[in-house]
Amino acid sequence: MTTLPSHTERKLGLVIDLDTCVGCHACVVSCKGWNTENYGAPLSDQDPYGAEPSGTFLNRVHSYEVQPASGAAQLVHFPKSCLHCDNAPCVTVCPTGASYKRQEDGIVLVNEDACIGCGLCAWACPYGAREMDMAAKVMKKCTLCVDRIYNVNLPEEDRVPACVRTCPSNARHFGDLADPNSDVSQLVAARGGMDLMPEQGTAPVNKYLPPRIKDRLDRAEEIDILAPFLEPVTDQPKGFLGWLDKALDRF
């Protein structure tokens, strides 16, 4: 049924730390690796070794340059996957009931056997979280590794989404965001976790932790107590450069 549940008992989701993400794309690779051989149709590639490779990914890492009004620009790596919205617009537009949001844990899934591949859910998603697989002709999206997190055949430490398990900089956290005492909820509260595109009214479950200010080249003198020893000893060039400087001055 493509009507949304009035509430979900839990809100399983991700907290992504933009401060510690190093942009290594390990989450992209592990996501593709796990999900191409488990839940649903494989994540196909088209022309993978050709001139215009393209493929289906459930998680992609963008990189942005942010220029403050003064001071140095920051580079922010920005992983983006399905945000498992409370008010998921992708679910209600589905004409077949293939898209649904689970009442028990809030995960948004696609029943690929009922998907007609109309692509309307991808249009409805403001985050670009859904991609049509060009080989299977069905809509693919992040399942929050639903086939890992409840999988008793896996060791307990592996019962988290593949992206979370693999992240080498601990920038991805998985948990229940409906429980105010969960680790992820406390992290969100402590670090000012935010919604993407709040004006779209999607009420995303996944939260992003804003990056702290990093490079402070504008405060270079505060960097180190040894900095004064690295001061340039002369502002007058010597040798060939000194001669060139004087020669050019005479013109």
Partner: protein, 290 residues
């Protein structure tokens, strides 16, 4: 948005076909026998042909019957249900007209109402998209409905109605273009809100996730087609509205009527192409594009 030919053909042709059905349902013209057969055949060819064209857009058309199940929440499902209901009801009404010279008035009205409902559902598929600010306006269903009625009147030979409705839809088309040009800025969605990085400073896309294109960029970020947008608007407006009105104002002849129809359809196809090509999806912001 990617202007898929199947969807452009579907919305244009089925809009016309269902518009014609509204007029036929109202008994305008109240023809019977062979003449009625020709009218209904045109209406069914356009409406049904459009529906078949739209099926080519699907990845799995063989599962199409499932699309009739979610009418409680999905406008696309409502469109499917309403279109089949319209074709069914109008089919019975057409049998009365063609074979029994009968005018089952209530049935005709019901069919007409269902036809209008189908066009409304089609338009709401686009108007509901908060992700495409240009579409998200009450003017979108208004324009689709008025265009369907105007085109229908043109095909049904209701010259005076066609003149009034074409003029009205021309005004609405201009208003729709005008509001659409400001809609993205007015939506408040920017790279700053998309990334949440706005409070730090000016956000610029530094590197895309992959060096190659992807489904999202192909489907939602269609920049190439906007190059000639203004020229196409002039062509669409001239062919879709101005010329048909001129042809209808000329002394009536079937040749003039035919020219008006051909010109109108060509113009509306062009405007429907722009409807998609000019529509900017907010996901483009993640790629630093519109």
């Amino acid at each position: 948005m990617h202007p898929a030919p199947s969807i452009i053909a579907f919305t244009t042709l089925s809009g016309l076909g269902f518009g014609l059905m509204v007029w036929l349902g109202l008994g305008m013209p109240g023809s019977t026998g062979l003449v009625a057969f020709v009218f209904f055949a045109i209406a069914y060819a356009l409406a049904g042909g459009g529906l078949i064209a739209s099926a080519f857009h699907l990845g799995h058309p063989e599962r199409g019957l499932l699309a009739f199940t979610q009418w409680r929440s999905s406008w696309l499902s409502r469109e499917a249900v309403l279109s089949v209901a319209t074709l069914g009801v109008m089919g019975v009404y057409a049998i009365g007209r063609i074979f029994f010279a009968a005018d089952w008035v209530l049935l005709g009205w019901l069919g007409g109402a269902l036809a209008l409902g189908t066009v409304l559902a089609t338009s709401m598929i686009y108007a509901q998209m908060k992700t495409v600010p240009r579409w998200r306006s009450p003017l979108t269903p208004a324009l689709f409905l008025l265009l369907s009625l105007a085109g229908g009147a043109l095909l049904a030979g209701q010259v005076s109605w066609a003149l009034i409705l074409l003029a009205l839809s021309a005004v609405l088309q201009l208003a729709w273009w005008r509001q659409g040009d400001h809609a993205f800025a007015a939506s408040g969605t920017t790279m700053a809100s998309a990334t949440g990085l706005g409070p730090i400073g000016q956000v610029r896309a530094f590197e895309p996730p992959h060096t190659g294109p992807n489904y999202l960029l192909r489907e939602m970020v269609h920049i190439v087609g906007r190059k000639h947008a203004l020229k196409l608007r002039v062509i669409a407006f001239g062919l879709g509205y101005v010329l048909p009105i001129a042809f209808l104002l000329a002394p009536f002849s079937h040749v003039m009527g035919m020219l008006a129809v051909i010109s109108h359809i060509t113009g509306i196809l062009a405007s429907r192409w722009l409807f998609f090509a000019e529509a900017e999806h907010v996901v483009g912001l993640y790629y630093g594009k519109r």
